[in-house]
Amino acid sequence: MAQVHLENVTVRFGSAKSNQITALQNLDLVIPEEQFAVIVGPSGCGKSSALDLVAGLNRATEGRVTLGSTVIEKPGSERGMVPQNYSLFPWLTVQKNVEYGLALKNVPNAERTERASHYVDAVGLTKFRKAYPSQLSGGMKQRVAIARALAVNPEVLLMDEPFGALDSQTRSVMQELLLKIWQQERKTVLFITHDIDEALYLGDVVYVMSARPGRIIDTVHVGIERPRDYSVTTSSEFVDLKKRIMSSLHAEVDKALAMT
C-alpha cells in the first residue's frame, strides 16, 4: 500500500549549534493512498523541506519517512516530482522530455513513444510535441513537467508550488487540468502551496503549517464533492474553510515576517 508517512520528523540545517535552523519540528503526517494532500503555509515555513524528504532529496535529522513499508533514503521513480521552476531539459523536445524517465529505464522505443505520447496528449500539448522548452510559455512548460512525472507511472506525485510562477488565469486552467488528470490517474499527491484557494480547490485534506520551525497547526478535511469546477470556490463551505485557514495562517505570517 502506497501510504506516505512522515514519522515524527525533524529537519535542521547547519552544523554549528549556534546558527542551526530548524526547518521542521516533530512533524507527523500520514497521507493515505490516492489522497490529494496539500500543505499550505507562509513562505520559508519548511513546507518544501517536507516535500524534499518524501522525494528523498534530503534526509530527516530525526524521525523517518516511509512509503508503504519502505523507508525512504534516496530519490526514486516511484515518487515523481514537479518542481516550481519546471526544470525541463532544454536540449530535449517536449516529447523527449516526457520520454526521459522511460529512457533512463531502457523501456523499448515503441512503448516509450506510446506512453509519452499519451501523456503529452493528456496535458494538451499534442501540437507542441517537437517544440523545445524555450519555445513554450510558463504554463506549457509546467504541463510538460507534469507529463514527464506521470509518464514513469509513480505511486506518489510531489508538487512543489508548481503553479506559483504562473499568472492567475493560467494557474486556474492548470488547476483544472491537474484535477482532471488526477481523476483518471488517482495518484497519491503531496502538493505544496501558499495559495489557500488553490489548496482548498485541489485537496482532500489541507494541512496548515506554522512558520519556522514548521509544524502542522491545523488539518482541514475538504468535504467538497468531486469532480469540482471553479464554481465551488464561491460556495459557502469553501468560504468558511478559507476563513478558518486564513485566521490560523494570519498569526503565522506575522511570525514569519518577524524572523526575516
Binding site: A55, G56, L57, K74, P75, G76, S77, R79, G80, M81, P83, N85, S87, F89, P90, W91, L92, Y100, G101, A103, L104, K105, A131, Y132, P133, S134, Q135, A145, R148, A149, V152, L158
Partner: protein, 269 residues
C-alpha cells in the same frame, strides 16, 4: 510625433537605431581606415618601406599564392594549430566537466590548474625549443600548454553552473549517478563548451604565431618574419591579413557547428 534631437536618437543607451544607420556605421568606420591607408600610401606621404599600399599588398599576395609558398605556410600553420587545439580540447573538456561536476576533482586539480594557467606559455617557448626542437611537435606543445589549462577552468565554470534542479528532477525520474553525468551534466554543458572552444581557438592563433616568430622553418609566422628580414612590409601585411581571414573562417565554422549540434539554441529566436 515630436522630432528627436540627434542626442536623443543616437546617444540614449540601448535605444534601437534605424537599420540603415546600423549598417552604415560599420561601413563608415572600416571605410575610413581603408581610405586613410590609401591616402597616406598612394600619395607617398608614407614611404613604401614603411607602409605598403593596398596594391603592393595585393601584388605580394599574388606572388606568394602563385609560387605555392603561401599555401605551404598556411598548410603548416593549420596543421599545427588544429593538432594542438584538438589534443588540448579532447583532454581538457572532459577534465573540466568532471572538475565542475565533482567537488573532489575540483579540490584535487584546482590549485595546480590555477597555478599553471597564470604561467605565460610564451615564457616556456625557449624551454620547449631546448627540449623538443623547433618543428611541429614544439608548436603543438606551445598551443597545447597555452589553451589546455584555460579550457579546463572555463569548462569547469560552465559545468559548475548547471542547475542542481536538473539533477534532482532526474534522480526523481530514476536516474543513476552515471546517467546523471551522461544525460544531464554533459548535454547541459555542451553550449558553454562550444563557446569556450571558440574563444580559446582565438588565443591558440596568437600562441602559434608567437611560437613561429621565435623559431621555426615554416608557417605564417615564419613567413612574416622572413618578410621583415627582407624589408618587405607588404609580405608582413599579407601574413597578417591571411591569419585574420583564417580566424574569421574558423569562427564562422564554430558558429555553424554549434547551430548544427545544438538545434535547441536557435529555436524561437
Amino acid at each position: 510625433m515630436a522630432t528627436l534631437s540627434f542626442m536623443d536618437r543616437y546617444l540614449t543607451p540601448k535605444l534601437a537605431i534605424p537599420k540603415k544607420v546600423e549598417m552604415g556605421a560599420g561601413i563608415v568606420v572600416a571605410g575610413s581606415i581603408l581610405a586613410l591607408w590609401m591616402l597616406v600610401s598612394y600619395t607617398g606621404y608614407a614611404s613604401k618601406d614603411f607602409l605598403p599600399s593596398p596594391t603592393d599588398v595585393w601584388t605580394s599576395f599574388n606572388d606568394k599564392a602563385s609560387d605555392g609558398s603561401l599555401r605551404k605556410h598556411i598548410g603548416v600553420s593549420l596543421t599545427e594549430i588544429y593538432l594542438g587545439f584538438f589534443l588540448s580540447s579532447i583532454i581538457a573538456v572532459p577534465i573540466g566537466i568532471f572538475m565542475g561536476g565533482f567537488k573532489i576533482v575540483q579540490s584535487a586539480l584546482e590549485p595546480l590548474v590555477n597555478f599553471m594557467r597564470y604561467l605565460p606559455v610564451t615564457s616556456m617557448i625557449p624551454l620547449l625549443i631546448l627540449w623538443i626542437g623547433i618543428g611541429l611537435e614544439e608548436k603543438i606543445a606551445v598551443i597545447f600548454l597555452g589553451t589546455f589549462f584555460q579550457q579546463i577552468v572555463m569548462v569547469s565554470d560552465v559545468a559548475r553552473g548547471v542547475q542542481a534542479d536538473l539533477f534532482n528532477v532526474s534522480y526523481t525520474l530514476g536516474a543513476t549517478r552515471g546517467q546523471i553525468v551522461t544525460r544531464v551534466l554533459v548535454p547541459a554543458t555542451l553550449s558553454g563548451v562550444m563557446d569556450t572552444l571558440r574563444v580559446t581557438m582565438g588565443w591558440a592563433w596568437t600562441f602559434l604565431v608567437v611560437a613561429e616568430l621565435v623559431a621555426s622553418n615554416a608557417g605564417l609566422g615564419y613567413m612574416i618574419l622572413q618578410s621583415m628580414r627582407g624589408l618587405d612590409p607588404a609580405g608582413i601585411f599579407v601574413g597578417i591579413f591571411v591569419i585574420g581571414f583564417l580566424g574569421l573562417i574558423t569562427d564562422l565554422a564554430f558558429k555553424w557547428v554549434k547551430r548544427m549540434i545544438l538545434p535547441w539554441e536557435n529555436v524561437g529566436k
